[in-house]
Each structure stands twice: as C-alpha cells, then as structure tokens.
Amino acid sequence: MAGVRLLGLTKRFGAVAAVDNLNVEFPDAQVTCLLGPSGCGKTTLLRMIAGLEQPSGGQIFFDHDEVGEWSASRRNVGMVFQSPVVYPGLTVYDNVALPLRGTLPEAELRQRVGEVLELVELQAVAERKADSLGNAERQKVSVARAVARRPRVLLFDEPVTNIAAGERVTLKRAFKRLTTEVRLTLVYVTHDQTEAMTLADYIAVMRDGKLVQYGPPRSVYRAPRDRFVGWFLGNPGMNFVEIGAPGEDGGSLFSGAGPQLKAPAMVGFRPEYVEVLSDPEPASIEARVMRAPITVGGQHLLTLKAGDTTFKAKTDYRQTYATGQTVYVKIPADQLRWFDPAREELSPPVPGDAE
C-alpha cells in the first residue's frame, strides 16, 4: 500500500479544465472518498491516478515514486469500474485468480483467492461462470480481483451506480467489511454522500475540477468551508440565511447566537439541529409550518417560515405537524456557522464564537 500525492495535477479537454491544479495527499491505508456532483472531474482524477488518462500537467506520486509517466500496468493499482468488468467464460474463482497466475505458487494463490472470495461473500458461487451472475455479484468479482492482487492503491469509480437499488445494500455492506478488515489505500469516487460518510476516513469534496474541502467526514460535515459544501453534504443540505444590519428581519432568529456580528453576514445551520417546540421557550421564535412531508427515515422534513425567512428542519417522527400550524423554533448557538456573504466562505472564527 502507498499514499497518493498529487501536485498541481491538471487535465484539460480543449478549453475546459476537468481537473484544475489539484494539490492533495491521500494517506496510506486510509479510505478517501472523492465526492462531488456529476461532471466535477472526480472520475477524470481517478483515471489519471490509474494511468488511464494522461494529465495535462502536474505530478502524481505513490509514496516517493513519481508515476505520472508510468503505464497503468506498471503502476500496480487495482480498479473497479462503474459497470462491472468480469472476464467472460471464466469462473468466479478463475476471474480472481487470472491476474495472479504465474506470480504466485499454486498453494498460496489458492489461499489468497479463497480469503478474498470469503471477504466479499462469493465462496458459494466460486465455481459458477462469472458472466452468468447478476450485476451486484459481478461487481463483487471485480472488487475481489482488484483486492486479491494487493495493489499499491485501490481505485473505485462509482461502483454501485449501475447496480439495481435493491442489490446496492449488499454491495455497500461488502465494501464496509472490506475497508474495516483490510487496511487499504482506497480512493472511492461517488456522488452519493451517504456512501462517502459511511466508508470514508477522509472526504475530498470537488467542484468544477477544484478541490473545495478535504478532511475527516465529521469535520467536513460540521464545518463546511463554503456554502457549496454545506449545501452538498447533508440531506437536505444546510440552511442559509442572509442577515442584514442588526435588528433587521431574520436577525431575531439568531439572537441567541454568541458572536457580535459585523453585518451583513450569512448564517448556515443544518436542518437536523433545529429544535422544533410546540410551546415558546426562552430564545425561541415563532414560525409557521409551510410543508411537512415525511422523509425516508420516517422523520418529518418541515419547511418553516419565520418572518420572511424560509428554512428547513428535520424533526422527530413522534410529533405530527399540520400545514399552517404555528411552532416555536430554537437553534443552538454552537450549531450556527457564519459565512462571509460576499465570498460565501466560512468566516474565520471571531472571538466569542462557540467554536
């Protein structure tokens, strides 16, 4: 296993920079999720690390080896593609064993393949033809094939996107098992934040070919560097409210907040941290329920309006809400994030901030 370091990595397609001067290090034996909306350049970045795409500029290091000029074969990476790749006509076992044939003694090979097949729970179908299996199992085969080789770096390119929704769960569970039981340098591309949150040791959020934020999932989630990351992470994303001069509308909602604002400012807060009360409390304000659908998790996803400010709140499943109902809302001061409204970036912590 090896750490991956990217120095000024750039890929241009004509005038468009798919990946724009990227500098980052994905640590050894850690799972890094590249997260971003479609077309943000994350797959292009992964393909450059794999050696399937030629960078327009910059360097790629695996530990101390500069691999930018190396062919995909020489780099010794393992890759799982968006659509499952299995070698046709071969059994599951032979699919996993094929790249190892000739590099390992037969006994060791058998043991290695057996271990990996067990890890992804494919022992039962080891002697079946790989191309006769369903999509999810084929994807497991390609994961097993990549892992069995013990490559320096493992690269997963949206491995569950082309899998039927019902089968995704088993695949994700296999990935989770894989990442907890084997320490791998894994770079995992996804646009699904739930996947990223559950698998990653580190998250790298990308937008328009640039790295926006990099860090452990929890800290990226709690302290998004800019408005985009706040909106993109979380379901639904962060609420943002622009506040005019002190005393103007909207300000009252956050009057309980600590910092003395130099208005104007922008405040961000997550829907799940909004406390919705049926009776007024100190520092709570009145709001009206505009919409109250139920989320996948059984929670209520409220659209609330306080004065002219509309925002979302996620609440307990036990309460019931009716459209038009009046509720009282409180937001803990330590869950507020202050943004510079002009650049939409997180303001540096000011004295007195709860952070």
Partner: protein
C-alpha cells in the same frame, strides 16, 4: 368515430393478412430470382442438354454427376480452388489482423481517417478491372514489376503470368492486394466490439498481452472476425473476374479455378446439363465450408448452454 387511428385499408384487412402483404414483395423477388433458377438448375443437372445441338433435353439421371466425380480434371480444378481459397484467405486474414491491430492502436495518428478511406478503394473496383491492371503490371514487356525485378536482381524480366510455376502465386498475390483491406476493416470492427472498460481493466490488472488477447479481446472480437473470414471464403471460392482477366485459367491449367471450368462448360461448350451439375457440386462445397465455420463459431456457445 372509433378511437382507432389506423387507415381504412388496415382496418379492413385482418392483421395476419396485412403482415403477409408486407412480406410478399420480398418473397416474390426472392422466389423469382433465387428459388426458381436454383430449382431449374437442379432440374437441369439430371438432363443432357446442349444448347448448340438443337435437341430437347434428355433425361440421363445421375450421369452428369458420375461424370464429374470421375473426371480427374474437375477434381484437379477443385483442389486448385481450395488451395487458392486457403492461401488467399489465410494470408489476407493474417495481414488484415496484424494491420488492423496497428490501425487500432494508433487512434491519434494523423491522416488515419484518410488512410481508412483509401483502404476501401481496392474493394470497390471491379475484379475484371483489377485483373486487367495487374495483367499489365505483370506484363514481361511493359510491366513495372518485371522491370524492377530485372533492375534489382539482375535477372531477365520474368513472365510471371506466362509461367506455370509463378502464375498461381501472382494471381493469389493480386487477390491478397484486393481483399486484405477488407480483413483490416473487419479486424478494426471486431476490435471495436471489445468494451473499453474491459481493455482498461485488463491493463490495470496487469494481464500479459497473450492473456488479454485470449480472455478479453477474442471473446468479444471473434464473431465479427469469423464472419469476415466466412465472407472472404465464400467470395474467394467463386473468384472469377480476376483470374479470367489475368490468365483465363492458363498457362495450361495452372490457374484453372472451378468457376472458370464452370464457365467454359456452360458458355464454351453450351453443355447446360453438366454445367448445372458442376454448379450444384460447387454449391455443396461452399455450403460445407460455411457449415464448418458456423460449427466452430457456435461451439463455445453450445458448451455453455449444455452446462
């Protein structure tokens, strides 16, 4: 007004009849130009019928066939034809696959598209025209090839087509010139059928080139490639115009392919009965060739199905 939007003539006809009406023109065409002449030919092959004699056809049973089977010359010509097919298709496939791989690997080569377009040019020429040009190229007096052989090797300009030992190879080489591009294109098409992700996966998996050929490229490319070989085989088996224009079967019988024998029998001797029998015989050989290829092609599929 009924909700149906079908035109009146569709509503009046029962659906099966309408379907039949759509197929009938094709079937009629096929019947008139293919089935009837074939049946006619099969019928004629049991008769002695020589156009120039002015005598009505005489039923002779299997006599035409027994004559063919006993005729040493016919067997020699069939043998020569099989040799021609194996030689031409073999060399064309080999060269075509090698050059096809070269083309396939060079996607950024400048002028690639133009070169691919030029590759088509020999194929669109009439075989008679190609034969005529190559007869001039091979001509011992004016031909450019004997001239350069003379210049480089210091030997007198050879009469390539007039010599029994070189005529066959010269004709074969012309066929290779004409049809190798076809196999190049078939190879490029076959390689295009290999999924890109699979090629990338095999590169990332560090599979050796022979393994990539065997486990990744061959399973996806074989259908189109074998189809190309099949088409070439059938086509080479009935090569006529090229040889007719170059040597007309000579010198002696050195380039006497079965198609030329057939032509002579039918249009020199006007012996329609025996020519029909010979044509039928050639048809069976072509069908046999085709069946063998299809058998090989489907072999693995049947294996999987039997599993």
């Amino acid at each position: 007004m009924p909700p149906s939007v079908a035109p009146w003539w569709r509503r009046r006809l029962p659906p099966p009849l309408f379907a039949w009406l759509l197929v009938v023109p094709v079937l009629a065409f096929f019947a008139i130009w293919n089935i009837v002449p074939l049946l006619w030919m099969i019928g004629l092959s049991f008769y002695r019928y020589i156009l120039t004699f002015g005598v009505n056809p005489v039923y002779v049973g299997l006599q035409n066939f027994s004559q063919i089977l006993q005729d040493y010359n016919v067997w020699a010509h069939i043998g020569l034809t099989v040799l021609f097919v194996i030689g031409a298709v073999g060399v064309e496939t080999l060269l075509g696959v090698l050059l096809g791989f070269a083309f396939w690997g060079q996607t950024t080569l400048p002028g690639r598209r133009l070169a691919l377009t030029l590759l088509f040019s020999p194929m669109v020429l009439a075989p008679v025209a190609v034969g005529t040009f190559f007869r001039l190229i091979y001509d011992p007096m004016y031909g450019i090839l004997p001239y350069y052989i003379h210049q480089f090797f210091g030997v007198p300009a050879p009469n390539l087509l007039g010599n029994g030992s070189t005529a066959f190879l010269s004709v074969l080489a012309t066929d290779v010139w004409m049809w190798t591009p076809f196999m190049i294109l078939m190879t490029i098409a076959a390689l295009g059928a290999v999924p890109r992700a699979m090629l990338e996966a095999s590169a990332v998996d560090r599979l050796s080139i022979p393994r990539r050929l065997r486990y990744v490229i061959w399973p996806h490319a074989k259908f189109i490639l074998v189809l190309g070989v099949l088409l070439r085989t059938i086509d080479a088996f009935k090569t006529f115009g090229l040889v007719s224009a170059m040597t007309a079967g000579g010198p002696g019988n050195a380039t006497q392919l079965i198609s030329l024998t057939l032509y002579r029998e039918a249009f020199d001797s006007f012996s329609m009965g025996s020519a029909s029998a010979l044509a039928l015989f050639a048809l069976f050989i072509a069908i046999a060739f085709t069946s063998i290829y299809l058998f090989v092609l489907n072999y693995q599929k049947r294996e999987v199905a039997a599993e």
